[in-house]
């Protein structure tokens, strides 16, 4: 009898391990897809966050723009030079807002590319906050002496020049913060209002006010009359554009990351007040130089100031609502990212559970076979040993022979069942039936 013991190749993995590896291999692409899906949300979230930064940076700048153009209107409508008190009010507003804009810039400068170096690189050195503060310092010094018309004219030109710089900076921030490339229809049209429509309207209010003052001061002439009519048209177009963009924002709100609870309630009121102030201002402008009604420079200035204030209020409400829309978008994307990762993890877990169950259904009959074959090897070895001993014995025990036969027969039955079960698992029921018919032939004949 051979004493060689069977060897086991320890480097071979078990069936369960192999099934687990198959699941792991299939989980890998799911993991990669989940990563790519989640990674796809990240730039969109970051872009919305940069837009919020851009919007925040614009808020004090718009107040500065409003203050500068209001100051210009005050100075232009100030015949005697006794408008110091009104001007001081605007000067304080501009100084405070410029300071706020500068401190906000310290927070967002890198993201919005508004550092001195970045602006210099893009040929916008005069838009840096240092340059703007220096420009403003010059204007406040000049504002102390506005007794002569020449000084007032020079100061008004200075205000206009700085307002131009602020408008350029607003536009630059709109570009660098990607506000101009906003991907959603509702926020895109709100950006159109805050970034383009309102600054344009404030400028047209200023221009129309200036021409109207000229007409009132110098009497009616055809050239200025035509210029005023042209500016009124541009102002009206600008107002119409804001109203149309505002409407699109309202219409598109529901389709983009859900309905904002504050957009319509808050912005509708602000729009109404803006429209009303603009209608009054345009109506007043249309009477200037016609000779039908005597309009004073003070009345035009007051209407212009009221229109500019309503425009700024509308802008502030719009900017706040833009923040709400952008925050809703960020929340939506963050939820989407969590859902993508959660569903992917769930898919992997479900696949693992199913693979575990399938794996168990495969390994169970194998374990049964191992359980039957294991003691069977010992049984055969010992049986052979006993039969050999009995063949040499003078008095062989018939009881022992019967027990050996009985156990061998039982073992053969067990093996047959295990092989059938294995065949059923490996090749299906038909192969198992074929094996049954084959095994029942010679064994039971």
């Amino acid at each position: 009898m051979s004493t060689d013991k069977p060897t086991v190749d320890s480097s071979r993995s078990s069936v369960s391990t192999k099934i687990f590896l198959i699941v792991a291999i299939f989980s890998l692409p799911i993991g990669v897809l989940a990563y790519l899906l989640a990674a796809n949300y990240t730039p969109q979230i970051e872009s919305a966050q940069t837009e919020i930064s851009g919007n925040a940076a614009q808020k004090p700048l718009m107040t500065v723009l409003y203050g500068l153009l209001s100051s210009k209107n005050i100075v232009e409508g100030c015949d005697s030079g006794a408008c110091g008190e009104e001007l001081a009010k605007q000067t304080n507003l501009i100084s405070g807002s410029l300071e706020a804009a500068k401190s906000q810039n310290a927070q967002y400068a890198t993201d919005l590319k508004t550092t001195n170096d970045e602006l210099a690189k893009k040929d916008h050195k005069d838009l840096s906050f240092d340059a703007l503060q220096a420009e403003w310092k010059g204007l406040t010094t000049a504002g102390a002496n506005i007794a002569t018309p020449a000084a007032r004219g020079e100061l008004a030109a200075g205000y206009e020049r700085m307002a131009g710089h602020i408008k350029q900076l607003v536009s630059y921030v709109g570009d660098s913060s990607s506000l101009i490339l906003d991907p959603d229809l509702d926020s895109y049209y709100l950006v159109d209002v805050t970034l383009l429509g309102v600054p344009e309207t404030i400028t047209h209010i200023d221009k129309t006010g200036a021409i109207a003052n000229k007409l009132i001061a110098g009497g009616s002439n055809a050239v200025d009359q035509a210029a005023l009519a042209g500016e009124i048209d541009l102002l009206q177009q600008s107002v119409d554009r804001i109203i149309a963009s505002n409407k699109t924002t309202f219409d598109a709100d529901a389709a983009n990351h859900g309905v904002s609870p504050t957009l319509q309630p808050k912005l509708s009121g602000a729009l109404k007040e803006f429209q009303s102030a603009m209608a009054s201002y345009v109506a007043t402008l249309k009477t200037v130089g016609t000779g039908s009604t005597q309009v004073t420079a003070g009345a035009v200035a007051a209407q212009a100031a009221s229109a500019q204030k309503a425009t700024l209020d509308y802008w502030n409400t719009g900017a706040a609502e833009l923040d709400t829309l952008l925050n809703m978008r960020i929340t939506d994307f963050q939820t989407g990212r969590i859902q993508a990762l959660g569903y992917s993890a769930l898919a992997v877990v479900v696949a693992t559970i199913i693979a575990f169950l399938i794996g168990r259904s495969i390994t169970k009959p194998l374990q049964e076979l191992v359980r039957n074959l294991g003691p069977g090897a010992t049984l055969l070895g010992v049986s052979v040993e006993r039969i050999a001993e009995a063949s040499q014995s003078k008095n062989p025990s018939p009881e022992e022979a019967a027990i050996i036969c009985e156990e061998l027969n039982a073992h053969a039955e067990n093996m047959r069942s295990a092989v059938l079960e294995l065949a059923r698992h490996v090749e299906g029921s038909s192969a198992a039936s074929r094996l049954v018919s084959e095994s029942t032939g010679p064994a039971h004949s």
């Binding site: 359980r371 010992t378 049984l379 027990i403 156990e407």
Partner: protein, 76 residues
């Protein structure tokens, strides 16, 4: 319900042979002796100890352990 004597016998055999296989082997031998697990008594075990040892011994490769089981069964 198996008798205490059967449980004792099974636990002893299970020390040498896989318990499931031990139960199978003992079931066959009890049938051959016209006994049942529920009714078998210590006296029956003693009377058939040789048969149980022979049957269970077929599943024990080590002859020393086979002898040990035989002795313990006889001592029951």
């Amino acid at each position: 319900m198996p008798s205490p004597a059967y449980n004792h016998l099974l636990s002893l055999v299970s020390l040498y042979v896989d318990s499931k296989k031990a139960a199978e082997v003992l079931a066959r031998q009890l049938t051959a002796c016209k006994l049942t697990a529920d009714t078998i008594a210590s006296a029956d075990i003693k009377a058939n100890a040789s048969r149980f040892t022979t049957a269970c011994g077929l599943y024990i490769a080590d002859s020393v352990k086979r002898e040990e089981l035989k002795e313990r069964l006889m001592a029951l």
